[in-house]
């Protein structure tokens, strides 16, 4: 992965930035999509990446920083190769989310918000992911894992390399 502290998009990525910007009445509308692109490219959004993206939009780095820090899906520090985000909102709470979080903390040897020493997994708790019918649930990278039990969590963790 490219160095997040010396961020620069490839020509292909830059073309995608221009395409995204052209979709909106004002180019600035593409800021969130481009920040998603930046995070995919560099793993997280460093201050240097914020300044670089700001330059692509003719915005101040402060504006981009304000946006990055507002949204939970943007990481300001390196995250693990996998992100395990357990819902702890009401429906999942009723169906045992706390037990799931405690189990994962113990299995991974980290607290919520931390990454395993080998850089494999970052453990998070998150607010409602809107899959309450299959609570308790969590998001593992791009996918939803539902109807969790301790055993099911173990199987899922085994699949993360």
């Amino acid at each position: 992965m490219a160095d997040p502290r010396r961020p620069e998009f490839t020509a292909e990525q830059l073309a995608e930035v221009r395409r995204l910007q052209s979709l909106y009445p004002e180019a600035r509308g593409a800021l969130l999509p481009v920040l998603h692109l930046a995070q995919d490219a560099w793993g997280y959004i460093s201050l240097e990446a914020e300044a670089y993206v700001a330059g692509l939009f003719d915005l101040s780095p402060a504006h981009v920083h304000e946006v990055v820090t507002f949204y939970t899906m943007f990481f300001q520090r390196p995250k693990g190769r996998h992100v395990v985000a357990v819902c702890h909102n009401l429906s999942c709470h009723l169906m045992g989310a706390k037990t799931i979080v405690d189990h994962l903390r113990q299995r991974l040897g980290v607290d919520v918000g931390e990454t395993t020493a080998d850089g494999r997994v970052t453990l998070l708790t998150v607010e409602c992911l809107c899959a309450c019918e299959a609570a308790p649930m969590m998001q593992v990278d791009d996918r939803y894992e539902v109807l969790l039990t301790a055993e099911k969590c173990d199987r899922i963790l085994e699949g993360l390399r």
Partner: protein, 418 residues
């Protein structure tokens, strides 16, 4: 059995495809709409008594009619697919299983308000719904149902899919617009309303996924038909997201006149393990809680309003007798503290402090004045903020404490600050 509209194709594995949608009459309504006057489309939707199904319940036809008639400015149609109200999951199903109904509903709405560009704001965590919906949009373009001169009508319409990045407040329509404009999702002061000055400063209509998905059916079968499915002041069926302690949690499509008791016991099999019902949140976490004695209410907007709560997003969260209500309130208060955008002082401060107070009560450090403090703070702040977020938080704060006060008091008495 009551008629299904939104979920009629859900039994099909290919319900997300253009072919399946067309087989069941898909994209015939838009052809009809192209032949109608713009005002006639709005009138039909008004006649249907369709009310916004995202949470606020505002009459959809009336909202559309607020777009300035003679304005030559560009007008935008924005779909709120930033589903996030705790206890709600209906829009996820619609995006994944009936995406073409949303696209067709957008086309009809766009024709009604004379818009040629639509945005679909999908919450960032919804990766699979985003993929399925994007594929459906591609299919529609390939079939000439989007783009220039759609089906020879002379009407142009494009769809831009915009992914959010994790913020509940972006489900509030003006917060959503701020986010769409490349800013943090801070709600805007109204007026001006989005219909006058919305996305990028232009007239904009923001509608929920489910609301727009109903529109093709209304145009095909008539507003009177849709109105007849519901109650006096709200037409149609709607999607109830039922979770928590029921035998069969899941999505239920039912007429809005269904009662909460029918929904829990007839549709979802009642409470598991022979346990007793304790409480229900009827319309997403922002709706005031109802006790087990209060479930003989109809689930339409006015029925729940009269019961002192709200229909909201129709997210029904069921709690059995084993549930600690103070703990449930702490979980809900944590959510509002986390998601307050920080713009208005009463909301930013109260959500944080009320979470801390509920936390200490649950931890056994509650003080006897805590309950009155929660109620006082909640009541003072209501109605003082830019958007409805804080009013949504006040619903649970007040109702949990007032309806289950003895349980809170017992917990405080057993603690070390009693």
């Amino acid at each position: 059995m009551a008629e299904k509209i939104f979920t009629r194709n859900f039994h099909r594995a290919d319900s997300h495809t253009l072919a399946a949608y067309r087989e069941t009459g898909g994209y015939t309504a838009v052809g009809k709409a192209f032949g109608m006057e713009r005002t006639a489309i709005v009138e039909e939707v008004k006649k249907a008594n369709l009310r916004g199904l995202g949470g606020a319940g505002f009459p959809t036809g009336m909202k559309w009619s607020f777009i300035p008639k003679d304005s030559t400015a560009p007008k935008y149609l924005v779909v709120n697919a930033d589903e996030g109200e705790p206890g709600t999951f209906k829009d996820r199903y619609l995006l994944e299983r009936e995406p073409h109904a949303l696209i067709e509903g957008m086309l009809i709405a766009a024709r009604a308000i004379d818009s040629h560009l639509g945005f679909v704001y999908i919450r960032g965590e919804y990766v699979q719904p985003w993929r399925v919906f994007s594929a459906a949009v591609q299919e529609a373009y390939a079939a000439g149902l989007l783009g220039k001169n759609i089906q020879g009508s002379g009407f142009d319409f494009d769809i831009v899919i915009h992914r959010g990045a994790g913020a509940y407040i972006c489900g509030e329509e003006t917060g959503l617009l701020s986010s769409l404009e490349g800013k943090k999702g801070w709600p805007k002061i109204k007026p001006p309303f989005p219909a006058i000055k919305g996305a990028f400063g232009h007239p904009t209509i923001v509608n929920n996924v489910e609301t727009l998905s109903a529109v093709p059916h209304i145009i095909n079968r008539g507003g009177a038909w849709f109105a007849g499915l519901g109650s006096k002041s709200q037409g149609g069926t709607r999607l109830y997201s039922v979770s928590g302690h029921v035998v069969r949690p899941g999505l239920v499509e039912a007429p809005v006149s269904i009662t909460l008791r029918q929904l829990i016991y007839d549709e979802c099999g009642g409470i598991p393990g022979g346990r007793r019902l304790k409480a229900v949140v009827p319309g997403g976490s922002s709706a005031a809680i109802l006790t087990a004695d209060e479930i003989d209410v109809s689930m339409d907007v006015d029925g729940l309003k009269n019961a002192g709560t709200m229909a909201g997003s129709a997210g029904v969260i069921v709690m059995d007798e084993t549930v600690s209500i103070p703990e449930a309130l702490m979980v809900v208060a944590r959510f509002y503290a986390h998601e307050s955008c920080g713009q208005c002082t009463p909301c930013r401060e109260s959500t944080g402090w009320i979470y801390k107070i509920t936390h200490r009560i649950v931890d056994g450090h509650g003080r006897k004045e805590d309950l009155d403090t929660i109620l006082d703070v909640a009541k003072r702040g209501a109605g003082t903020t830019i958007c409805a977020f804080y009013d949504g938080a006040v619903g649970p704060y007040i109702s949990y404490v007032e309806k289950f006060r003895e349980e809170f008091e017992a917990l405080i008495r057993s603690g070390d600050h009693a």
